[in-house]
C-alpha cells in the first residue's frame, strides 16, 4: 500500500498528526521504518517528518541535552560526548550511523537500542512533544509506556555528564564485530568517592523488550568497592528482573547465563 509522507514545519504539528492517527509513525533517520516500508508493512500508512531542527548538543551544568535528530555519527564526532563514542562505534556500519538518530534508538526494538541503554544509565530524561506542549519524561517511564499508549514525539534527551571517564562504562556483546546486533548490552554509571560506589545506575539492553535498569545490581553495588569481593553480590543478582528474548542472536537462557560474566568484566575493567 502506498505510504503518505507528511512534512511539518514544527514538532508540535508532527506530534498532532501522530497523536490523531494510529496508522502514523514519526520518521527519524528511517533506518528501521524504511525497512518496514520496503517490506510492505501494513502496520502504518503515514510517515510524519518535521523540518524543525533538532540536531543541537548543549551542555548545561552537569547535564548535556542531545537533540532527537542527532545522528549516531554526530555523537561520534562530538568531543563533549567522548564518553558515548564507545557505544556509538558499535552501532551498525558507518552508513547506518550517518542516518540513525538518537530519537529513533529510543524506540528501536530489542536487540537494538544500544545507545538508548547507555542513555538510560546516564539518567536520561526525554523532552516529549505532546500536542502544543512539551513535558519531561524519564527514559525508564518512556520505555515502560513505549509500544502501549505513548503518544508524542521526542524532541531531545538530557543526560548526566559522567563525573569521570572511568565512571561511565559500556559493553556490547555481539557475535559479529564490530557491528552485530547485541546478545546483550550493559551500561553503567558508577560514581565513586573514597573508593566506594555511590548511586550506581546500571542498564541492560537486549535483556527485556526495552532497555531496563538492573535495580538488584544497583542495590548490591551501593557502598561497595570495585573489586572481586565488592562486586560478588551484584554478580549474583545479575539476571534478576530480566526478561530476555529467544531470537536469532541468542536464547534467553544464554543471555541470562552470560550476563554475570560480562557484568564482572565491566565492573572490574577486565578485557572481553
Amino acid at each position: 500500500m502506498p505510504i503518505t509522507v507528511k512534512t511539518t514545519a514544527t514538532f508540535a504539528e508532527a506530534a498532532d498528526l501522530v497523536a490523531g492517527n494510529r496508522a502514523a509513525r514519526f520518521l527519524g533517520g528511517g533506518t528501521l521504518l524504511m525497512r518496514d516500508v520496503n517490506e510492505g508493512s501494513v502496520a502504518f500508512e503515514t510517515l510524519v517528518r518535521t523540518t524543525e531542527p533538532a540536531r543541537a548538543i548543549r551542555t548545561a551544568g552537569s547535564r548535556i541535552e542531545i537533540g532527537a535528530a542527532v545522528t549516531i555519527a554526530q555523537i561520534q564526532a562530538e568531543r563533549d560526548l567522548a564518553f558515548l563514542h564507545g557505544a556509538a562505534r558499535l552501532i551498525g556500519g558507518p552508513a547506518v550511523r550517518a542516518a540513525g538518530t538518537v530519537g529513533g534508538n529510543l524506540f528501536a526494538p530489542s536487540p537494538y537500542g544500544d545507545l538508548a541503554t547507555a542513555l538510560l544509565a546516564l539518567d536520561g530524561v526525554a523532552t516529549l512533544q505532546q500536542g502544543a506542549s512539551r513535558r519531561e519524561m524519564p527514559l525508564g517511564d518512556l520505555f515502560a509506556q513505549r509500544g502501549r499508549d505513548l503518544r508524542g514525539v521526542v524532541v531531545s534527551v538530557s543526560i548526566l555528564r559522567p563525573e569521570s571517564a572511568d565512571a561511565f562504562r559500556f559493553r556490547k556483546v555481539s557475535r559479529v564485530k564490530p557491528k552485530g546486533a547485541a546478545v546483550l548490552t550493559i551500561a553503567a554509571h558508577l560514581p565513586t568517592s573514597g573508593g566506594r560506589i555511590g548511586k550506581a545506575r546500571v542498564a541492560y539492553g537486549a535483556m527485556a523488550p526495552t532497555p531496563i535498569r538492573a535495580r538488584a545490581v544497583e542495590r548490591a553495588l551501593e557502598g561497595r568497592s570495585l573489586d572481586r569481593d565488592g562486586v560478588a553480590a551484584a554478580l549474583a543478582a545479575a539476571a534478576e528482573g530480566t526478561d530476555p528474548a529467544d531470537d536469532a542472536i541468542a536464547s534467553a537462557w544464554y543471555r541470562r547465563e552470560v550476563a554475570p560474566v560480562y557484568l564482572r568484566r565491566l565492573l572490574l575493567n577486565e578485557p572481553d
Binding site: 524504511m34 558507518p94 550517518a98 542516518a99 564490530p178 557491528k179
Partner: protein
C-alpha cells in the same frame, strides 16, 4: 499521488517524481536511471546500495527519497571522468577486488566517503569504513588492499 523531488546528483540537478514512501534507491534506479547503486537486500543490511549524501555514506534503500530534497547525492556514476578511471576504480582492478562485482559500487562509495574525509586511513579505519558492506566473493582482503593502495596513490579526489 506522485511527489516531485529535486536534488543534485553527481553535480547535476535532477528532478524525479516519487511515490509516497519511495526510497532513494528506487528514485535513482527507476526515476533517474542511474543503476550504479545496486539493490541487494532492501533492509540496510548489505551495503550494495551505498551512496554519498551530503558527504556522508548512506544506504539508499533505507533513505526516504523525499528527505533528499535539495541534497548533494553522489553515486558511482559520478566517478567517471571520460576515459580515466578514478584511483579507487583502478586500485580495485589492480588488486582483484571485484569478482562478481555486485558489491563493488557500494564498496567504492563507502571507500570514497572515507577517503574524502581521511585521505590516509589506517587499515583499521578502512575495515571500519566497509563494515556495513557485504561481499560474498573476495573475502575482503583484496578490497582492503585496494582501498589502501588508492589512498597511497595519486591524491586525485
Amino acid at each position: 499521488m506522485k511527489t516531485p523531488v529535486q536534488f543534485r546528483l553527481n553535480d547535476q540537478p535532477v528532478a524525479v517524481f516519487v511515490d509516497g514512501g519511495d526510497n532513494l534507491l528506487t528514485a535513482l534506479r527507476d526515476g533517474v536511471g542511474d543503476v550504479t547503486p545496486k539493490f541487494g537486500c532492501g533492509q540496510g543490511a548489505c551495503g550494495a546500495c551505498t551512496v554519498i549524501v551530503e558527504g556522508e555514506p548512506r544506504l539508499a534503500c533505507i533513505t526516504l527519497a523525499e528527505a533528499c530534497e535539495g541534497a548533494r547525492v553522489e553515486t558511482l556514476a559520478g566517478l567517471r571522468r571520460g576515459p580515466d578511471l578514478h584511483p579507487l576504480q583502478s586500485a580495485f582492478m589492480e588488486h582483484f577486488a571485484a569478482q562478481c562485482g555486485f558489491c563493488t559500487p557500494g564498496m567504492i562509495m563507502a571507500a570514497k566517503a572515507l577517503l574524502d574525509r581521511n585521505p590516509r586511513p589506517s587499515r583499521e579505519e578502512v575495515v571500519e569504513a566497509i563494515a556495513g558492506n557485504i561481499c560474498r566473493c573476495t573475502g575482503y582482503e583484496p578490497i582492503i588492499e585496494a582501498i589502501l593502495a588508492a589512498a597511497a596513490s595519486a591524491r586525485r579526489y
